[in-house]
């Protein structure tokens, strides 16, 4: 009797499982993700229009989107619009700061993982500086570099540094002695061991470090731009709009920040993860 039931359950599941396996799975997942957001937006729209909340402090989403549409327009087209300008500046700052950290700090982290002395020197320094919120650096960096692009880029760099260093070092150190022995016995030189064992072996941690770095850097960037944006960037735009009580622009900015953050994570790092560590079965928790 129970056998028949199991069989039936299997039968009932298979068509939907097949559906979910293909394109349907993605569409369904997307719908599941977007529905709660739409419900909140609808409630918000209703509360704001019905006067349940102050419409200046919480303008209806429709007004925010209309305003966002305006911010994406200019006499010389979409690409010259103010919002695109701010986005461009913010992304360039992110790329510059993160890019420098990616190159320098991955190298330093790997070196720390390889060399005990380098590790012994830098580990305490990293451990002490890492927990400092990066915005705490902004005042002093403004004194060094002024209210400029350089200040923002430097703060982004500072933020991205530590997760990259820490995880790259941990990645190398996670490789077992026996993996290195096996490679050595098969005739790998030091250089080959680095490229064929240490680098791919550390990859799961390195990728985690970079994901963390970018998501923290994106947050720090917006904060730093509020304090030292020098007239440009999404953070500056929000902060500036607030002084004019232009809350529609403030919210438009926040939404753009949310969407861009999501795109960077899901659009850049997720595929990278999928093609490397998920295939290798070496995904780390968290």
């Amino acid at each position: 009797m129970s056998e028949i039931q199991i069989h039936r359950a299997g039968e009932a599941r298979s068509p939907s499982a097949e559906f979910a396996a293909g394109f349907g799975h993605k569409a369904l997942g997307g719908l599941r993700f977007i529905s709660p957001i739409l419900i909140v937006l609808a409630l918000w729209e209703f509360s704001s229009r019905a006067g349940l909340v102050n419409a200046v402090l919480l303008p209806p989403p429709s007004a925010i989107f209309r305003n966002m549409g305006r911010l994406f327009q200019s006499d010389t087209g979409f690409w010259n619009s103010p919002l695109v300008g701010h986005i461009e500046v913010s992304l360039m700052r992110l790329l510059a700061g993160y890019g420098m950290a990616a190159v320098l700090c991955t190298a330093l982290g790997l070196l720390m993982g390889i060399n005990r002395r380098v590790y012994a020197f830098f580990d305490p320094i990293v451990t002490v500086i890492m927990p400092i919120p990066s915005l705490a650096w902004v005042p002093i960096v403004i004194l060094w570099l002024g209210m400029s692009n350089a200040t923002i880029i430097f703060v982004v760099f500072l933020t991205a540094m530590f997760p990259i260093i820490y995880n790259s070092a941990a990645g190398v150190r996670s490789i077992s002695k026996k993996h290195l022995w096996a490679a050595e016995l098969m005739g790998a030189s030091r250089q080959k061991i680095f490229f064929k064992v240490l680098l791919p072996g550390a990859m799961p941690y390195v990728i985690t470090g970079h994901i963390l770095a970018v998501s923290l850097a994106w947050r720090a960037l917006v904060g730093a731009e509020m304090l030292a944006g020098a007239g440009l960037g999404l953070g500056y735009m929000i902060f500036d709009a607030r002084t004019f009580m232009d809350t529609e622009t403030v919210y438009a900015g926040i939404m753009v920040i949310a969407v861009l953050g999501l795109l960077i994570e899901k659009g850049v790092f997720r595929p990278l993860q999928r093609f490397t560590i998920e295939r290798w079965g070496t995904v780390r928790a968290g």
Partner: protein
């Protein structure tokens, strides 16, 4: 894999494949306290021999194997291969660990090719294909290790160690973490592989049955600090039958001698 065995300048018959001469090994623990793992071991393993190391846990079997690999250095004495003192790991040896130690970022084929590619050996494709067939991995060439069972992963590790045609195969409890059924199958299949390649093998195990099913000679280690207590020659044709009286006889003798050493280790 039917390449002729490379002969060194010296006569292979006169020189043992692997020799340990009064080898000792003492480890310093983190606390500064010293552990004498290997007391005084001398042994000689002939070309083409299938040697098994057996002994109580912690008596230094892996340590001696790692010294033959060139991973560790003896505290005293010498370990020689083909008459030369072993100075560092070299690809004339291959190793299989209990924990497989495959490269998770490489496919089955990528793992097996690892040594061949490093040494830029010719006919890589043909050799890899042959080995995959030999160890029974056909159809899994593109699979990543984590998708395979323990037994299959160990087949990959064995193929990887044999792929670049080393003279000596070192195995550290290779079937130790497999279930009994898989283990029996692996032993049977490995005999086939070994009979084709005819490598000299050093096989560390804690299973008397495994040692006697596989080896030409079983080297019984004493309790720590270890020496070679006894060497058992197993002159039975393979595949061996565990229910045959001659097998049972030697098994009983080996087990009794091993148990004495395990008792010493316990207290």
């Amino acid at each position: 894999m039917d390449m002729p065995n490379k002969k060194t300048k010296r006569d292979a018959a006169a020189t043992a494949k692997v020799e340990a001469l009064s080898v000792s090994k003492t480890f310093k623990r983190d606390g500064g306290e010293e552990v004498a793992a290997i007391g005084d071991i001398s042994l000689s393993i002939a070309e083409g021999e299938f040697a098994a190391f057996i002994g109580p846990s912690g008596c230094g079997k892996s340590t001696l194997l790692y010294m033959v690999a060139g991973f560790e250095k003896p505290t005293g004495g010498k370990v020689r291969m083909n008459g030369h003192v072993i100075d560092r790991p070299r690809p004339d040896r291959g190793i299989v660990f209990q924990e497989y130690v495959l490269f998770p970022w490489l496919t089955v084929e990528g793992n097996i090719r690892f040594g061949i590619d490093l040494q830029k050996q010719p006919d890589a494709d043909a050799r890899v294909e042959h080995l995959i067939k030999l160890v029974g991995l056909r159809g899994f060439e593109r699979a990543y290790p984590h998708t395979l069972s323990g037994g299959m992963q160990q087949r990959v590790a064995i193929a990887r160690a044999l792929a670049y045609d080393p003279e000596l195969l070192l195995m550290d409890e290779p079937f130790g973490s497999l279930d009994a059924q898989t283990k029996r199958r692996m032993i049977k299949d490995f005999i086939t592989v070994w009979e084709e390649t005819k490598k000299t093998v050093i096989f560390v195990t804690h299973s008397v049955e495994e040692a006697l099913l596989l080896a030409d000679k079983v080297y019984l280690f004493s309790a720590r600090p270890s020496r070679i207590k006894q060497v058992f020659s197993v002159d039975l044709p393979r595949p061996r039958d565990i229910s045959e009286p001659s097998f049972i006889g030697i098994q009983r003798e080996l087990l009794a001698s091993l148990d004495e050493e395990v008792e010493k280790m316990m207290g």
